[in-house]
Subunit: 120 residues, 2 copies
């Protein structure tokens, strides 16, 4: 079947991912925060907003502490373009959830950029 | 054609991405560093190591400065698993390139995690 053909899949994959926009958020939560509950709420909120193209997240299990600088969680969202990202940012569900999320955050780092896809 | 069939493509996409391992690096370079040259070298190095499954990077064009905390560049590599990541980390080309990269870095943040793919 076509979709199992390596080359075709790759072509679909790269063309589709180019010209997009990435929103990468790294967080350290305050002590005592119910992190699992909060990330569940985040997943629900993000999943419900159609402008988000892809979303993955994870908890660092990595190397030395000086490299993570106290941060623990990474949330990676991609969009088809800056317009979709802006629509996500101002979406009522996002704005509403931020009121819950922001007070739980001790430190946050955000990078927004049009990605260069080297390997997909 | 099969690969243009949305549902099939999605199934390929998610199954393929699950159980992987992400290496997310955020960098601020020192003043005077030839950043373009350095990222070109990085792209070359990463592209040449087969253990890397996907690689994308970008320069922040985002919001307020307090959210990026001085960082400018994001690099995201994915691997099929922790083993492939470890192989990349200890790969001679990686080790060699680090000698060039590390002195150019003013601040670096690294998060390594098995991702939860919510939307792909």
């Amino acid at each position: 079947m076509g979709f199992e053909h390596g080359k075709r899949t790759k072509v679909w994959c790269c063309r589709d991912m180019m010209g997009g926009f990435n929103h990468y958020v790294v967080v350290k939560f305050k002590d005592g925060v119910a992190v699992e509950e909060l990330t569940e709420g985040l997943v629900k909120m993000v999943s419900g907003i159609e402008h988000v193209k892809s979303f993955q997240w994870g908890k660092d299990i990595g190397g030395p502490d000086f490299l993570r600088q106290g941060f623990t969680h990474a949330f990676l969202m991609t969009f088809n373009g800056k317009e979709e990202f802006d629509a996500f940012q101002s979406h009522p569900n996002h704005v509403e959830f931020s009121k819950l999320f922001s007070p739980a955050v001790e430190n946050i780092l955000v990078l927004d950029f049009p990605p260069t896809i080297v390997k997909a």
